[in-house]
């Protein structure tokens, strides 16, 4: 319960922070918004039937040396084996998109419990690109906030890099452009980055890349089911 409350509180605090930041950019440029007159304030679209579409391989999922929450070294490629992977690059001091993404992943983790085949077939990985701050101790605490306590939830591991040298090739391989925000003065606690999450099949092929708008738990589960159905068929 304590963790749940903390998760809620942190989410809202971070989101409130991000709204404030957004307000700066929205400025006085008001759109000609047509507010709907009915109550259909939904943005949902019909989900495709799992297996009714293809997810062509986009690229190979790269490996590299990473640290887990206990500080143990792993080869990332080993963590990509045996499961379908959802890999997200984040950093814990992020004030806007990362907590939004973690919220979506936490919902995905909860949602997966409804389908044991999905829960058993997928592993979530959140990889920090801020190893200077995101030590194993920090990501362990971060994981405690976000990770689901639901019975049957899929594994969600939080990772960091031993140092920036080890991180660099991973960032290149996954096209993650990271840099300190220049408008923050000498403080480099915030990074310029574009959030991306990767759906990786058991053969180590990236099969989808999600911006935050498509990191919708139901949509990702649909994609995971599509890969599971593909595995049952002829496969790739």
């Amino acid at each position: 319960m304590l963790v749940s409350v903390l998760r809620t509180g942190l989410t809202l605090a971070l989101l409130a922070f991000s709204f404030a930041a957004l307000g700066h950019d929205v400025g006085s440029h008001k759109p000609a918004i047509n507010t709907p007159k009915d109550s259909r304030l939904e943005f949902a679209f019909p989900l495709p039937v799992p297996g009714s579409y293809e997810l062509p391989p986009i690229m190979n999922a790269a490996g590299g040396v990473v640290l887990d929450e206990e500080g143990a070294k792993h080869e990332l490629a080993d963590l990509l084996r045996d499961r379908i992977i959802v890999l997200a690059f984040i950093y814990t001091r992020c004030g806007d998109v990362c907590p939004m993404a973690s919220l979506q992943l936490s919902a995905l983790q909860d949602l997966a419990t409804e389908t044991p085949e999905v829960a058993h077939g997928v592993r979530l990985l959140s990889m920090s690109f801020d190893p200077d701050y995101d030590t194993p101790v920090v990501i362990k605490e971060h994981a405690r906030i976000w990770r689901s306590q639901k019975k049957g939830a899929p594994e969600w591991r939080f990772l960091t890099a031993p140092d920036r040298v080890a991180l660099a090739p991973l960032l290149v391989a996954y096209n993650q452009s990271i840099g300190p925000k220049s408008d923050k003065g000498s403080s480099t606690s915030e990074f310029y980055h574009i959030f991306r999450a990767f759906l990786i099949d058991r053969k180590g092929k990236v099969r989808n890349i999600y911006s935050l708008d498509f990191l919708d738990p139901k949509l990702v589960v649909t994609d995971i089911k599509t890969l599971l159905l593909e595995e049952k068929g002829a496969g790739r």
Partner: protein
């Protein structure tokens, strides 16, 4: 300078209700985030919503320029113009990167991280990838895709280059048989081929509901993420667009081979859902930005009409003609559109009369022209800054369709827009500068990579 990358996550689904108070509150927060963020999704000249955008003043204008035989080096080139207002070289060409050949430079676009600009050749089917991040004032060609036709299974005439997360979506105009069957092709950001999706035809409709005909032609492709829809338009094939316009219009049979459809796709599944009948060759597609504005504009080149594709109150997507552009009987040939960030103002260019027209589209079902200005003897592309205060126009349509003689003006002209009038800022004569025929314009800024 204010530049951000906005997620346009939009699909608040029923799962929130299953996740208890925490998620319900978070769902509310997401909705608020959406409502606040969506206006800023609008990008300069309506770029892909997946990329960071320049919400302050642009610093550079990149112009993908067709080479002209005997003019300068004769090659297609990416021209960089300095538009930093305090710069000593403001309004001047500060860089030109030739690609070493002439392949009908036309359209292009940035990757989702806006670090690379993909520039496509309609004739030679090559794609040139420029690094615009290392030094935005001096783009550098880093890779050329030369086997596009082979690796895509026969698609040809790469046109738009539209950023998707980690990928590029290339809409083509043609195929190896040089007719109008077109495709949508996906590449990874590092230039590796991913997939080809052919446009639907009557025989291979992909399960789409067809209003009258599925002609298979292609042109533009743009996504409205929160509705999971993509809209494509239709032009003509290589044999037609590489033919001199004067000859082409005398060939009645060839003139039948132009697009008359728009296709609404299930974007996530990449499957066509509906094929609208939009006669007269619909070209550029511009989605509105408001979070409840589920509509897009296009213009039909041959019939000079403004069309609206919209989600009706019954949840169905429909297409209808909403306005004339100039006098359609004179075939002014509308070629490019730019919708303002607030969805209220639509800039429309017509090539034949060289006119810029401005429509009030506050009511998208009833556009009203509020202004017009002659830009030159011919005009093609228009690019609008995010704040709507600066407009840039270029002159060239296609190498063999541009006007001849003294009417063959080749320029970039920059204006300010105060809501009532276009006022000149500067202009560059691309012939005098020995550059070529300027076509697509895209904006750059060093702050994109640090902010």
């Amino acid at each position: 300078m204010s530049i951000r990358s906005y997620p346009d996550h939009s699909e608040l689904r029923g799962w929130h209700s299953k996740l208890g108070l925490r998620s319900a509150l978070s769902g509310f927060a997401l909705a608020m985030f959406l409502t606040n963020a969506t206006p800023t999704l609008s990008d300069e000249t309506c770029q892909s919503p997946y990329m960071p955008k320049i919400t302050g003043e642009e610093e550079f204008v990149y112009v993908w320029t067709l080479g002209v035989e005997g003019l300068g080096d004769g090659s297609d080139k990416l021209v960089t113009i300095d538009v930093r207002k305090d710069s000593a070289t403001f309004g001047k060409v500060i860089d030109a990167d030739s690609v070493g050949g002439r392949g009908e430079a036309h359209h292009g676009g940035f990757t989702d991280d806006r670090r690379h600009f993909w520039a496509a050749g309609l004739d030679d089917s090559k794609i040139y990838i420029f690094d615009v991040a290392t030094n935005p004032a001096n783009p550098r060609l880093i890779k050329t895709i030369s086997n596009f036709v082979e690796e895509t299974g026969g698609a040809a005439g790469p046109h738009g280059a539209y950023a998707l997360p980690g990928r590029m979506l290339i809409s083509t105009l043609s195929n190896k048989s040089r007719d109008g069957r077109a495709a949508l092709v996906e590449y990874s950001n590092d230039g590796k081929y991913v997939a080809t999706h052919w446009m639907p035809t009557d025989k291979e409709n992909g399960g789409a509901k067809i209003e009258k005909i599925a002609d298979g032609y292609g042109y533009d492709a743009r996504v409205l993420p929160r509705k999971n829809v993509m809209l494509t338009s239709s032009f003509t094939g290589l044999d037609n667009y590489m033919r001199p316009l004067g000859d082409l219009i005398k060939d009645a049979n060839a003139m039948k081979k132009f697009g008359q459809t728009m296709v609404l796709w299930d974007f996530h599944a990449r499957k066509p859902k509906q094929v609208f009948h939009v006669p007269g060759t619909p070209l550029e597609v511009r989605w509105a930005w408001g979070p409840y504005n589920n509509y897009a504009f296009t213009s039909t080149a041959l019939t000079s009409k403004l069309w609206l594709v919209y989600e009706d109150k019954d949840g169905q997507w429909k297409a209808k003609e909403v306005a004339d552009i100039g006098d359609p009987s004179k075939t002014p040939l509308p070629v490019d559109l730019s919708l303002s960030a607030d969805d209220k103002t639509l800039f429309v260019d017509t090539f034949m009369d060289g006119m810029a027209r401005v429509f009030d589209v506050s009511d998208p079902h009833k556009p009203k022209q509020i202004y017009e200005k002659k830009i030159g003897s011919q005009v093609n592309m228009v690019s609008q800054s995010w704040d709507g205060k600066r407009l840039y126009y270029t002159s060239s349509l296609l190498a063999n369709w541009d006007k001849g003689g003294k009417d063959n003006e080749q320029f970039l002209k920059a204006y300010t827009w105060d809501g009532q009038e276009l006022k000149p800022r500067f202009e560059i004569d691309f012939t005098a500068e020995k550059l070529g025929r300027p076509h697509l314009m895209s904006f750059g800024s060093a702050s994109l990579y640090t902010n």
